[in-house]
């Protein structure tokens, strides 16, 4: 598989990056829900709620799912290989 395919299909990110992605999902989408609700109740127009939510969800998808470089800043340090002693 080429590097681009690996990047897009498997998109591995390090463990700190995974935690970050998880937090972003939680906070970003929760805020999206609250904002969408407030937009609707203040303007009195429920279609604005769905548009706001759709906007946030799409933006969040791009931020969370794609393997951005800021998810890979703490790569796992593998120990140097040792030869078996015997």
């Amino acid at each position: 598989m080429s590097d681009l395919q690996t990047l897009l299909l498997e998109g591995p990110i390090d463990f700190v990056g995974q935690q970050l992605a998880d937090s972003v999902t939680l906070y970003f989408l929760s805020i999206a829900g609250v904002v969408a609700f407030l937009v609707g109740i203040i303007t009195g127009d429920i279609s604005l709620t769905s548009y706001t939510l759709a906007l946030f969800v799409s933006a969040g998808f791009v931020i969370v799912v794609l393997p951005w470089p800021f998810y890979k800043r703490h790569p796992l340090k593998w120990l140097p290989p040792t030869t078996a002693k015997n």
């Binding site: 829900g33 609700f37 127009d45 799912v65 393997p67």
Partner: protein, 180 residues
Amino acid sequence: MFSTFQRIQQYWGFVTTVTVFLAAAISISSVIQEHYFVDIPRVSINVQSIDVRYGKPHIGYNYKRQEYSLMKFDLEADLTPLFTWNTKQLFVYLAATYPGKPYANKVVVWDAIIRSKEDAVLSLSDMTADYSIYDVTGKFNGRNATLSLEWNAQPYVGLLTWNKGSERERFEFPQPATAR
């Protein structure tokens, strides 16, 4: 969250959760608004004329020959306060309630669908009822009846609500014009 695929799964899972909570919040807020912050609209109903005939209430093999009634009425109502941000439509109907042995009876004589606040002021005069009333027993026997305006608010999402106006207009079924 290691692979792109896993992140997609996790992300969509949480999107679903947020959507469910949002739908619940919208529904609860609009039901609270309808219940506690909206006064029951003032309604005025007047029966202009009512007569009872003998025959088939509608064309069709399914309808028996029996006494049926037709009425004309006036209706004034301002239903604008019932529209919340979560109101998709108001199904409004005028219903006649009358007693009987053994059945207590209620029949819709007219209905309308209101889809926006702008259309929510009703001002009808000398309106012919959409539907005629006919009884299970086939006869009215000059019974008394009351007419009331009721509505069902249909939300964009969540719980449906029903309510009614305070006015009750009373009338009496006259004897049939052409008895058999």
